[in-house]
């Protein structure tokens, strides 16, 4: 019961954070730079992702590697989410260090954008698979014999 609750909590949080990140950065698709309160919200949501993503990654890790515990769709969604999130966070982390030049930062930010937006289908797949596996489990447990 507790495990299911944590599952739902983490997935809900992941979904909300990714939605917030997408909503605050969608203007960049039209070439507008993030700034002001939008950037502030984006960075706040980004902070939540930085904290929350390792939790999600560790919590779902066993299902991610076990064929018995999770469907291929769930495993695929999980790994794509972890991969996209890692690239997203690493690119922004590098920009925080006094290492890359402005030009390199521009490249990193571009990569950050691609990886960030790639999280949307990855998280969607992950959530969909999680919902489906929950339904299947509940169907199995409700079916006698």
């Amino acid at each position: 019961m507790m495990k299911m609750f944590i599952d739902r909590l983490l997935l809900l949080a992941l979904m909300l954070v990714v939605l917030a990140l997408v909503a605050t950065s969608v203007a960049t698709l039209w070439g507008t730079a993030l700034s002001g309160s939008t950037l502030m919200l984006h960075m706040t949501a980004g902070g939540a992702l930085v904290v929350g993503m390792p939790l999600v990654a560790v919590w779902f890790l066993r299902r991610g590697v076990s064929r018995q515990m999770a469907s291929a769709m769930l495993r695929c969604g999980y790994w794509l989410t972890v991969l996209a999130a890692t690239v997203t966070i690493v690119t922004v982390f590098l920009c925080m260090l006094p290492l890359p030049s402005t030009e390199q930062m521009n490249d990193l930010m571009e990569l950050h954008g691609y990886a960030g937006f790639a999280m949307v289908p990855a998280v969607a797949l992950f959530l969909l698979a999680a919902v489906r596996s929950r339904r299947m489990k509940s169907t199995r447990s409700a079916t006698p014999g």
């Binding site: 930085v50 990654a57 972890v82 890692t86 966070i89 890359p100 521009n106």
Partner: protein, 729 residues
């Protein structure tokens, strides 16, 4: 133009073929008419393709003959000044040059481009600092004609701060005496008209436009009767092109101030001694009168300057030296301790690197100097992108033409990495925001400039002279990028009508208020900075202590300061009340007001009182600002070089530095932070500051997060590899 030449040949007038003796006794009016005609002839006869050019990078030695305004060769015993237009203009395209950036300041039709420093009409006696410009696109400034200032007055006031520019040619043409006008009407008038078109269509048109009262536009002022006596202030090529040390600016200033406009180039080159001053000739003097002729300045040439063949060596260079630019483009920072000494300041980093101003601010024969701001559209059509900061150091923007000429690194400029600086800064800030202008402090400093304060002239400056300017003020420019600006607040006497304040002509204001204000030199010093009399001091401190001004305690000093300030305020009220009354009476103004530091003062209901009036007229009361670029500081001295919190913190000067409206009046504006001038929400700024305070810890958090995620990925890769291995077995 060719027609003009033929016209001239068809209708020769004896006036233009005078012997030198005759010229000596001719009126300056005739000089001007002749000059205009002859410049047209030169222009007509010497088309650009006909001119000789050396086509070498080497210096061309100018052993040349000098010519006066009548195009007569100057001999060692001549008494007329040399004319740069007729001397230099023989070989160089004076017409094209006259459109250049430095010479079109008095032309209404000239391209304005990015806002620049206005001409600030300053009169310390009446507490006036009025920003003016003939450039129509700079809309927040007043047009000189609009406030009753004639081109002649502008020339007298600011002529020593520009290298000339055809000031007066149109007026001199329009100002023959009645007798001459009737005598010459048949033959000369058509010539003069043609000349006006031929010599410099825009320059003359603009000058004429400014002075033509029949044109019915607001930017008009009456003709000045002074031009025939003072001559024109031609473009003086040697101001910039003389070798360092050959041109005496002090002489130029002196003679322009003495209204010897046409004599200034000769005096400044020290080709001879100029005696006499045109300022001693009254407005209504008859130019043909012998007494008037006696007052016309005369030149005694230095015979040793003439070669045996009558030529003179003009020691000049093609590329003006930085020293020449400094004559009109110096500035000094003023702090609470006064004018900052030169030795504490470094020069612009580019000059330290061995460059000259003209390496970036370059020009062709059109003399349209590249100003160097981003997005500059050069009239020549030549791409000048890489002569701006960004263009030179970073190259043309992505997606633009990537030809060699648009690549970064021009003149060997280093390509900055801006390590750790988020790209957002390049969208929000100009390069100069971090690299240009005086180092920002808690409060914007005072600034004195050559154009506004006549730096270069010897004098006793304290730093508090009008106009009061402030810098750096970090404001968004026309392109939206925030950068350092210089700023000032208009101060003037005007008329309040329908909620708008219109400045009154400064000369009329001076005449009307002279008795009421009784200021000898400085309005602020003599009206506001009042000193207590000995009886007032005795009353305040007692008889014993009043005498011991060197031994006053802090408390006593502060008592004296408060009393002096109150007395100054009282004097201000009395004198300004009387001055406003005098203006209303003499200038027939319904409601006269005095504007300073954004406040509008009108007469109070009781005698000797003034009230502040709320007026919604931003042109009169708002800050006037224009972007600045130099001095450029190197990377290590740029803002943010030590990290984000240099700006993103509570005391980050880029946002927290403040500026107050300042002027000659008694009230100064409330301090306003740069953040509010940039329209930055204070709460949001606070949040950002807090965010940047915790940035270091956040980096560790992000680093930890990345480590966990990478480990997760390694586990996944390991599991995947194991599965593949299992399948293979």
């Amino acid at each position: 133009m060719g027609d003009v030449g033929s016209l001239w040949k068809r209708s020769p007038s004896p006036a233009f073929f005078e012997t030198e003796t005759a010229v000596k006794h001719s009126t300056p009016v005739k000089w001007m008419i002749s000059a205009a005609l002859l410049s047209a002839v030169l222009a007509a006869d010497l088309q650009a393709e006909d001119r000789y050019h050396s086509d070498s990078d080497s210096r061309y030695l100018h052993h040349i003959s000098l010519y006066d305004v009548n195009n007569r060769k100057i001999q060692p015993d001549s008494t007329t000044p040399y004319s740069p237009m007729n001397t230099c203009g023989r070989c160089h395209d004076y017409d094209s040059i006259a459109h250049g950036w430095h010479f079109n300041a008095f032309q209404t039709e000239s391209v304005a481009g990015r806002a620049g420093e206005p001409w600030i009409w300053t009169d310390p006696k009446t507490g006036t600092q009025l920003p003016l410009s003939y450039r129509n696109e700079w809309k927040t400034l007043y047009r000189p004609g609009e406030v009753g200032i004639t081109p002649w007055e502008m020339t007298l006031h600011f002529g020593d701060r520009v290298p000339g520019g055809n000031m007066g040619i149109g007026q001199a043409r329009s100002q023959p005496s009645e007798q001459q006008a009737s005598e010459q009407q048949a033959t000369e008038q058509p010539l003069a008209e043609e000349t006006a078109v031929a010599s410099d269509p825009d320059a003359v048109a603009s000058d004429a436009a400014v002075i033509d009262p029949a044109a019915g536009e607001p930017d008009r002022a009456p003709l000045s009767p002074r031009w025939p006596f003072t001559g024109t202030l031609e473009i003086d090529c040697m101001v910039c092109h003389a070798v360092s040390g050959a041109y005496d600016f002090e002489q130029r200033r002196l003679h322009i101030r003495q209204e010897n406009f046409a004599w200034a180039p000769t005096a400044a080159l020290r080709l001879g001694v100029v005696q006499g001053r045109a300022s001693s000739i009254k407005d209504d003097a008859d130019p043909d009168d012998d007494a008037t002729q006696q007052k016309i300045p005369q030149v005694t040439y230095d015979v040793s300057r003439f070669n045996p063949d009558g030529s003179v060596f003009m020691d000049l260079v093609r590329k003006p030296s930085t020293n020449a630019c400094y004559q009109c483009h110096s500035n000094r920072t003023v702090t609470a301790d006064g004018i900052e000494p030169r030795w504490v300041h470094d020069q612009d980093v580019h000059l330290r690197a061995g460059m000259d101003c003209v390496d970036c601010h370059r020009n062709g024969i059109d003399h349209h100097i590249v100003r160097g701001f981003e997005g500059e559209d050069h009239p020549s059509g030549v791409a000048v992108e890489t002569l701006s900061c960004r263009g030179c150091h970073l190259g043309a923007e992505e997606g633009q033409d990537e030809s060699i000429a648009l690549r970064p690194g021009r003149l060997g400029s280093p390509r900055p990495l801006h390590v750790g600086l988020p790209p957002l800064h390049f969208e929000k800030l100009s390069c100069t925001a971090c690299h240009g202008g005086p180092i920002p402090k808690a409060e914007a400093a005072g600034i004195m400039t050559s154009l506004s304060h006549g730096l270069g002239e010897k004098g006793h400056r304290t730093g508090e002279e009008l106009p009061r300017l402030k810098a750096p003020v970090y404001l968004p420019g026309d392109d939206g990028e925030v950068g350092p600006h210089r700023a000032m607040w208009p101060a003037f006497w005007g008329e309040l009508k329908d909620g708008k304040v219109t400045p009154l002509a400064p000369s009329q204001v001076y005449d009307a208020t002279r008795r009421a204000l009784r200021v000898r030199k400085d309005f602020r010093d003599e009206v506001l900075n009042a000193k207590l009399s000995s009886s007032e001091l005795k009353e305040l401190l007692g008889e014993q202590r009043a005498k011991l001004d060197q031994e006053w305690s802090n408390q006593e000093q502060s008592q004296v300061d408060v009393a002096a300030s109150e007395k100054g305020r009282q004097q201000f009220n009395q004198k300004v009340y009387a001055a406003l009354l005098a203006i209303e009476d003499e200038l027939k103004v319904d409601q006269a007001v005095y504007v300073s530091s954004g406040f509008v003062y009108g007469k109070g209901t009781e005698e000797d009182t003034v009230n502040k009036i709320e007026v919604d007229d931003s042109r009169a009361t708002s800050m006037i600002a224009w972007p600045m670029a130099h001095q450029v500081r190197p990377a290590g001295w740029s803002l943010g070089a030590t990290g984000c919190i240099e700006c993103h913190s509570e005391d980050g000067k880029f946002f927290s530095s403040n500026v107050s409206a300042i002027g000659p009046g008694p009230d100064q504006g409330e301090p306003v932070t740069m953040a509010s001038l940039q329209d930055v929400d204070p709460d949001q700024r606070l949040q950002w500051n807090e965010m940047f305070q915790g940035r270091k810890s956040f980096k560790f958090l992000v680093g930890g997060s990345i480590v966990i995620l990478l480990m997760t990925l390694f586990v996944g890769i390991g599991a995947f590899a194991a599965r593949l291995g299992g399948k293979a077995e």
